[in-house]
């Protein structure tokens, strides 16, 4: 039995393929290696937001207009919406990783896929509180210039009571409000945090390793890629991580079946913090 929606679905799949081909050839962003179900859902969401009828219409717009492409990439990215969105990770980082970092003279940290920077600033606050800010260099990268531009401003929606609560659950030593000044419904993060972060455009899918790091934070970023690209990127992350360095993944991401799985040891049962041991 073939439902009435089947033909529409085939046409939609064709339109999506053409759109992705067009974006790859015109702008060099190859979205064909994205996780297909997630990509389809984000594209449909984008179509509704732009009030367009078909992916062909979206294609016409995106091919001619760099801003339309940027809006598309923005929809595809899913940054955590608040500071310390996952308190458990930051707590684990504090208890398991920070004590080791203290013993090193200098530490390079890479936040890969920083989006609009919420987790980057949370990490900066944590490193600051632990007295590591002086000898840390924190690099944050994303493929989208638009998102990076947002991140660079150091302006976030005003943290809520819940955000402040999660900051404390994450082991926060002061008050979250110490780190920003309020401007209406916005929070301006302290310049000493913002100015110490090196924001840089880097596309995990195509760009190579750009330094050697002691800590790489790449949480829930690789969910958006398909298996092949996901494994390829893990190769790059491996090359970019110093021996005995730490790789921090999302709560439900794993290194199983990736090429360098054997070179890592997992620190936490829950936190998905890995240490490169070979």
């Amino acid at each position: 039995m073939t439902g009435p929606g089947a033909r529409g679905a085939e046409l939609e799949a064709l339109e999506v393929d053409l759109l992705l081909e067009g974006v790859a050839r015109q702008w060099g962003f190859d979205l064909r290696s994205r996780s297909r179900p997630q990509l389809l859902r984000r594209l449909r969401h984008h179509l509704r937001e732009e009030r367009l009828d078909s992916f062909s219409a979206l294609q016409a717009r995106v091919l001619h207009d760099a801003e339309a492409l940027d809006a598309l990439l923005r929809t595809l990215s899913c940054t955590p919406p608040a500071l310390f969105a996952e308190a458990a990770f930051f707590r684990d980082f504090r208890t398991r990783v920070v004590p080791v970092l203290r013993t090193w003279p200098s530490v390079r940290v890479w936040h890969a896929g920083c989006g609009t920077g919420e987790d980057t600033y949370a990490l900066a606050i944590l490193l600051h509180e632990e007295g590591l800010w002086g000898r840390c260099r924190l690099y944050a990268s994303d493929a989208s210039e638009g998102l990076l531009a947002d991140a660079r401003t150091g302006v976030l929606p005003l943290p809520t009571q819940e955000d402040a609560q999660r900051y404390l659950e994450a082991g926060g030593k002061g008050a979250l409000s110490d780190y920003y000044t309020r401007d209406g419904n916005w929070a301006l993060l302290q310049p000493r945090l913002r100015d110490g972060i090196f924001f840089t455009q880097h596309n995990l899918a195509t760009d190579g390793s750009f330094n050697e790091f002691h800590v790489i934070v790449c949480r829930d970023t690789l969910l958006t890629f398909n298996r092949a690209l996901h494994d390829h990127i893990h190769g790059r992350l491996f090359e970019s991580l110093a021996r005995f360095g730490f790789l921090c993944l999302g709560r439900k991401e794993s290194l199983a079946r990736t090429p360098h799985a054997g070179a890592y040891e997992m620190l936490e049962d829950r936190g998905r913090i890995f240490r490169r041991v070979a």
Binding site: T2, A9, R36, L40, H45, C78, R227
Partner: protein
């Protein structure tokens, strides 16, 4: 009808006990993976209680874990669970209808990846899941809604079946049976 490749189940929080009962009815020889999204909070432990009476193992998969027949894949807290042909795909897209994991998200991905080879079961009680089940239905998948009260005819061909907790067992048994009788030309 196409041979079955996947069973997706969606349920709101209020139906958690019904889901546990329905999982107990799953045939142990079910030849397809079962993927389950249940509305949940960040701290609910669900896999163990749901698996207590179920003949199949209930697991919370990691991202990109393969989908294997004879297991129940439960959406982890805080992520949408999507299916991508032979594997799961977790997503941190924003919550929908205030929920993550969401039911529409799972049904929509099943419609994309399996189309008429999917079967969808929705436990009534929440607006989330209704639209997704309709998408599945439109792609030719076998779909059914489980509610406390019998509201319509059960299982006329082409229509969305309306089931009660009493009749869901029969529907599941027919799913398990159909592939073997239908593979033959």
């Amino acid at each position: 009808m196409n041979p079955l490749g996947l069973l997706v189940v969606g349920a709101p929080r209020c139906a958690a006990a019904d889901v546990e009962s329905a999982l107990a009815l799953l045939p142990p020889n079910l030849p397809v993976p079962v993927v389950l999204a249940l509305h949940r909070g960040p701290l609910d432990a669900l896999a163990a209680p749901l698996g207590r009476r179920c003949a199949l193992p209930v697991v919370e998969p990691d991202d990109k874990d393969p989908l294997l027949p004879g297991a129940v894949y439960l959406a982890p807290a805080g992520y949408h669970l999507l299916v991508d042909r032979g594997c799961v795909s977790l997503s941190v897209e924003p919550p929908e209808h205030g929920q993550r994991p969401g039911l529409d998200a799972l049904f929509e991905s099943a419609a994309d990846s399996h189309g008429p080879r999917a079967a969808g079961l929705l436990f009534a009680g929440h607006e989330d899941g209704v639209a997704g089940l309709q998408v599945l239905h439109a792609r030719g998948a076998r779909v059914a809604v489980v509610s406390a009260l019998q509201t319509g005819g059960a299982g006329e061909d082409g229509a969305m079946a309306q089931l009660t907790l009493g009749s869901v067992g029969g529907w599941l048994a027919r799913l398990a049976y159909v592939p073997r009788s239908k593979v033959l030309p």
